[in-house]
């Protein structure tokens, strides 16, 4: 069976599970909102300086929220050993990676889009009409970066004793370039001055590099 078809089957499975449980989305949303609320108590976010930094707050909240969703992605494979049956199936492991990657990308992007209006409310951030596309592009490419690296590292971390610690520990430092780029592009989309073109290019390169790396090494992460 072709790699893409395998990806399709795995994607279907993850989407159906999420549809029934809404675990990944609800966990990441609640945690994201909570983090934004805590920022409000920890700092005075209604000053012009803080408004300039708003993009940073958003991505910090998202980084932690996203980690929960990514952890769940492979926790459900471990639970009753289904992941083992999946790893044993005569399919291309790259297809399994792509399926889970797309599912995670979708969940992360959805989290961002739902968090956005809440974020704009809490931080009193305006959105200029002509930069909306840039904001969407920033979310799309940023969540892709998180999904690409997070899917790979989640598969690695789930085999260890301290999987909840190891996932963020492994994946957050790795995703730093994409994080810087995502914050910069979001900041520009929200009315910032610094040109984002380099950052968009970096995001695209990062995404391509890590999806490719994932495709190539994922089979080693799931072999027994």
């Amino acid at each position: 069976m072709s790699t893409l078809r395998t990806a399709g089957v795995v994607l279907w499975k993850d989407l159906r599970i999420e549809w029934r449980t809404r675990d990944a989305l609800s966990a990441s949303l609640v945690f994201g909102i909570l983090t934004l609320v805590i920022f409000n108590f920890a700092l005075d976010v209604n000053t012009p300086e803080m408004r300039r930094l708003a993009a940073g707050f958003f991505w910090v909240a998202f980084s932690f929220a996203g980690t929960l969703a990514l952890n769940r992605s492979f926790a459900l494979e471990k639970e009753a050993g289904a992941g083992r049956a999946l790893a044993l199936a005569p399919v291309d492991p790259a297809g399994v990676y792509l399926g889970k990657f797309f599912a995670n990308w979708l969940f992360l992007l959805s989290t961002q889009l739902i968090l956005l209006p809440i974020f704009m409310l809490f931080f009193d951030v305006p959105l200029a009409g002509e930069r909306v596309l840039a904001l969407l592009a920033s979310f799309l490419l940023g969540s892709c970066a998180f999904a690409a690296t997070g899917t790979l590292f989640s598969a690695v971390a789930v085999n260890t004793r301290m999987r909840d610690l190891l996932l963020p520990l492994l994946f957050l430092p790795t995703v730093v370039p994409a994080l810087i780029a995502a914050v910069s592009t979001t900041a520009w989309a929200l009315g910032g001055a610094d040109s984002p073109s380099f950052w968009f290019k970096l995001l695209i390169v990062f995404d391509v590099v890590f999806v490719t790396t994932g495709i190539l090494v994922f089979e080693y992460a799931i072999e027994e």
């Binding site: 690296t149 004793r161 370039p177 970096l202 590099v209 090494v217 992460a221 072999e223």
Partner: protein, 231 residues
């Protein structure tokens, strides 16, 4: 075995020699920097450590790749050794940086490009070492570590470019005055000698660590077969 000893001896001697020459050059040959004074001399330790740490992580990458291709545990031992020495060197970079920054800039840390890059690298490879600690089975550990060893290194150029551009957009005090910003030729020469010395230090530590790891594994095998035949 004997050939190994000869190589080790040669490396040790070369190391001591270059280290001695390097230190002499640092204190008696290279001119004292006009702005920063004698503190600037940390540069001759700070920069070579960073270069060689980077090299170390390159060795982790190659060893991880070779391990996945051959499944030869010696490559896993090499990856481990390179990562440990690499993390040691990056730790030293992160220590020498602030030691330099404090007298010069008055603050311990400035999110300078090289220091930030080093910090991110430190996190990635400390994560690599921590991962190894939390996997029980040796084969699984080697494979999973190899996956992380490869992804970590693939990330390095991306981290480098991201931080460099970020610092261009938001400049901060630079620790080290940029190793390529118009160096006096005597300083350049001193830097190269020190770089060679630290390279030899890396190699010496790396070889010893690989040997220790190999010995530990040999002991485990012997112990297991001894207990096995006693059972």
């Amino acid at each position: 075995m004997t050939r190994d000893r000869i190589i080790s001896r040669f490396i040790d001697v070369a190391l001591l020699a270059t280290l001695a020459i390097g230190m002499w050059m640092v204190f008696f040959y290279a001119p004292i920097e006009s702005e920063m004074g004698i503190v600037q001399k940390i540069f001759y330790v700070h920069v070579p450590l960073a270069w060689n740490a980077f090299l170390g992580f390159g060795v982790v990458f190659v060893s991880s790749f070779r391990y996945l291709a051959t499944r030869d545990p010696r490559w896993d031992a090499r990856a481990l050794a390179a990562a440990e020495v690499g993390v040691l060197f990056t730790t030293l970079v992160l220590i020498t940086g602030p030691i330099w920054a404090k007298p010069v800039w008055g603050i311990w840390w400035t999110w300078d490009a090289r220091l930030t890059l080093t910090l991110v690298l430190w996190l990635i490879y400390a994560g690599y070492l921590l991962l190894r600690r939390y996997v029980e089975s040796p084969e699984r550990r080697a494979v999973l570590a190899a996956v992380v060893g490869i992804s970590g290194f693939v990330d390095v150029p991306l981290v480098y470019f991201a931080i460099r551009w970020w610092r261009t957009q938001h400049p901060q005090p630079v620790i080290g005055g940029g190793s390529d910003s118009g160096l006096d030729p005597r300083m350049a020469a001193t830097l190269w000698v020190c770089a060679a010395a630290f390279l030899l230090l890396f190699v010496a530590l790396f070889r010893r660590r690989v040997a220790i790891e190999q010995m530990r594994r040999d002991v485990d095998v012997l112990r297991d077969s001894a207990e096995g035949s006693a059972a």
